[in-house]
């Protein structure tokens, strides 16, 4: 696992030193993170890297994972979709399931800490422990809750409003709340297996193992098999583009342990591909980081055709590899991509098809998009910036709420 100094060649000595200075101000503070899955999905990835680094600068950070039945995770998936706007009703039985799971986790998890950092709606109910623990509580919302289906926000609002601080990835995702709202964009780790530099031969070996040929340009979408990522729309766009430019398509993804709908979407994707030898559907395990890295690096164009997004970190992953990205202008994607400057923002399947053709044909323009994108990610979406924001959230809770805080 990398240590903080390993990031200095990428982000600069001064930035690393600042993180250590902030850590000095928080030395010994106990922070417990709680989410709902150890592997798969952006939250688990970020915590895997961030928790050790926080400890390195002196914060006593831990990570607890709540447990729940299949029934609970089906409910929270439904809640997740409803918070994104899909209509749903929540029965008394489901509410009871949520409450029962929360109570069981309150007994099972060690929440003894100075700061409890709770991620997403699944463990939001743990705030009930606040009555008995003398600590500060942060609710970190990784999804877009700006336009929820009726009843969805009301499900979690009574819990969220009891926190000391909420954290959203972008202003567009947030809601009016009676508690302070911090904005913290997520990040990628440039030293992780998913993002570290790979040699050409390493890439080739991995692609050969996956059965991908290098005789045609590769267009890729890396995403969970999830309807909001519109994998069927990607196939449709690629088919339109292929009428003009010969290329192959990789749809690489997997399903996190809290996503029971993934298998169904994967089945539909396979059906849509209809055995086309130029479409590679890769159902990868959550540990396939090197494979994803190699696929992104081997791609000529990377797509993220999301219809709804939390943040869409795969965009930053591709940009960090200096790849031209075509992405849906939803959620946090416009924060990562400035249209025609650091990537392409689209709204339609036809638009994606058009830009696949353009970028495969205009390689100089595509290269410039990728280079600008990489610098934008370096400045805004790397793990060190994320770590700094977490440290600042902790300091805000402990030393705020002034606008200028001298440490």
């Amino acid at each position: 696992m990398p240590v903080l100094d390993d990031y200095a060649p990428i982000v600069g000595e001064g930035t690393v030193k600042e993180l250590k200075l902030l850590g000095d101000r928080l030395a010994g503070q106990r922070v417990v993170n709680v989410n709902s899955t150890r592997v798969g999905g952006g939250v688990a990835e970020i915590l895997t890297r961030l928790v050790p680094l926080l400890n390195e600068v002196g914060v006593k950070a831990r990570w607890e994972v709540m447990s729940g039945s299949e029934e609970f995770f089906e409910l929270t998936k439904k809640l997740h979709n409803a918070l994104h706007g899909r209509p749903a009703t929540f029965t008394a039985v489901e509410r009871e399931t949520y409450q029962r799971t929360t109570t069981a986790n309150l007994r099972a998890l060690d929440l003894e800490a100075d700061i409890c950092f709770i991620h997403d709606p699944q463990p939001a109910g743990l705030i009930a422990a606040r009555q008995s623990l003398d600590s500060r509580w942060i609710w970190r919302c990784h999804i877009d809750v700006s336009a929820p289906a009726p009843g969805a926000w009301e499900f979690i609002a009574p819990m969220v409003e009891k926190y000391d601080l909420s954290v959203f990835s972008a202003p567009q995702f947030a809601r009016s709340l009676p508690i302070p709202q911090a904005l913290v964009a997520p990040s990628i780790d440039p030293l992780s297996d998913k993002n570290r530099e790979l040699s050409k031969s390493e890439c080739e070996a991995i692609l050969t193992k996956l059965g991908i040929r290098s005789d045609k340009p590769i267009v890729t979408q890396v995403s969970r098999f999830d309807r909001w990522k519109d994998p069927l729309g990607v196939i449709q766009a690629w088919r339109l583009a292929r009428q003009r430019v010969d290329c192959q398509l990789i749809l690489a993804g997997g399903s996190a342990t809290d996503d029971p709908e993934g298998a169904e979407v994967l089945r539909e994707v396979r059906q849509q591909a209809n055995g086309d030898p130029d479409v590679h559907i890769l159902d990868l395990p959550p540990t396939a980081n090197l494979e994803i890295n190699a696929i992104q690096r081997a791609s000529s164009v990377v797509i993220q055709k999301s219809l709804k997004e939390g943040f869409g970190l795969t965009v930053s992953e591709a940009l960090w590899k200096a790849k031209p990205v075509i992405a849906g202008a939803v959620g946090g994607i416009p924060l990562q991509v400035s249209h025609k400057y650091s990537g392409i923002l689209t709204h339609t399947t036809e638009g994606v098809a058009f830009w696949i053709k353009q970028l495969l044909s205009a390689s100089d323009f595509a290269r410039r998009l990728g280079e600008n994108g990489r610098e934008h990610v370096r400045n805004n979406f790397l793990l060190t910036r994320h770590m700094r924001d977490h440290l600042l959230c902790f300091l805000y809770l402990l030393k705020g709420p002034e606008n200028i805080i001298r440490l």
């Binding site: 600069g12 001064g14 600042e18 902030l22 959203f168 202003p171 009016s176 904005l183 200028i404 805080i405």
Partner: protein, 230 residues
């Protein structure tokens, strides 16, 4: 390079790290932008006129300010956007004065405006504010040579703090920290004046660092030459 005299009033490089907080205010058109701009805390004005400098380091010249960007790109009011972008932040010694200037530009626009354009849903202007954490970097300079080395080492946040915050947000008479110290503690009036003349809003911060170091290197070089010939 020459080693100039030490001062008993060393310069302590500070750094400033910002946490962004969302306010509950948002604007759909220029009239709402104006309404909120009049009353938001200074930390909101500071945020929207300065965070671009940090987030878009690779752009030069940098995008001007969030108000101008939003008006141009979301309301498609290019004339107003241009006028807001042209508000010269360096002219103002306080956030209050900067706010007044921005308000004045929008008021003038609204006087002649008969049909207000509205931002598409989801593209409203979200008012945010910076909470700034100021801390010493541990790097201290007692002479010009040490100051130059410190400048080369510190993060861009530190440069930003001494050049932008000290001048405008902390309302220290409209001067940047570097020029003030160079003049008061080292009597380096020429370098101080040259730094004061730099427009930090038209450079990337890395570019600004390079320019300031070049000014000091030139001064140290002249001192070396003088010592050698003398």
């Amino acid at each position: 390079m020459a080693q100039l005299a030490d001062t008993e009033r060393p310069f302590e490089f500070m750094s400033r790290l910002n946490l962004t907080l969302l306010t509950d205010l948002r604007a759909r058109d220029a009239a709402e932008l104006l309404e909120h701009l009049r009353v938001v805390p200074g930390a909101v004005i500071y945020h929207h006129t300065h965070h671009f400098l940090v987030q878009h380091q690779y752009l030069s010249p940098e995008p001007p300010n969030d108000f101008a960007f939003w008006v141009s790109n979301m309301l498609l009011e290019e004339r107003l956007g241009e006028e807001l972008a042209a508000v010269d932040v360096l002219r103002f010694a306080t956030i209050h004065e900067l706010r007044e200037a921005l308000v004045h530009v929008i008021e003038n626009f609204l006087e002649g405006c008969t049909n207000l354009r509205v931002a598409p849903p989801g593209e409203e202007f979200y008012f945010e504010q910076s909470v700034s954490f100021v801390l010493p970097t541990g790097i201290v300079a007692r002479n010009l040579s040490q100051f130059r080395d410190g400048l080369a080492q510190v993060s861009l946040n530190s440069i930003s703090y001494h050049m932008f915050d000290a001048r405008l947000r902390l309302e220290q008479g409209g001067d940047n920290d570097f020029s003030k110290w160079l003049e008061a503690a080292l009597d380096e009036r020429e370098v101080a004046a040259a730094m004061r003349r730099l427009d930090p809003y038209t450079h990337t911060e890395e570019g600004l660092r390079r320019q300031m170091i070049a000014l000091i290197d030139a001064r140290l070089h002249r001192e070396s030459e003088r010592a050698r010939s003398g």
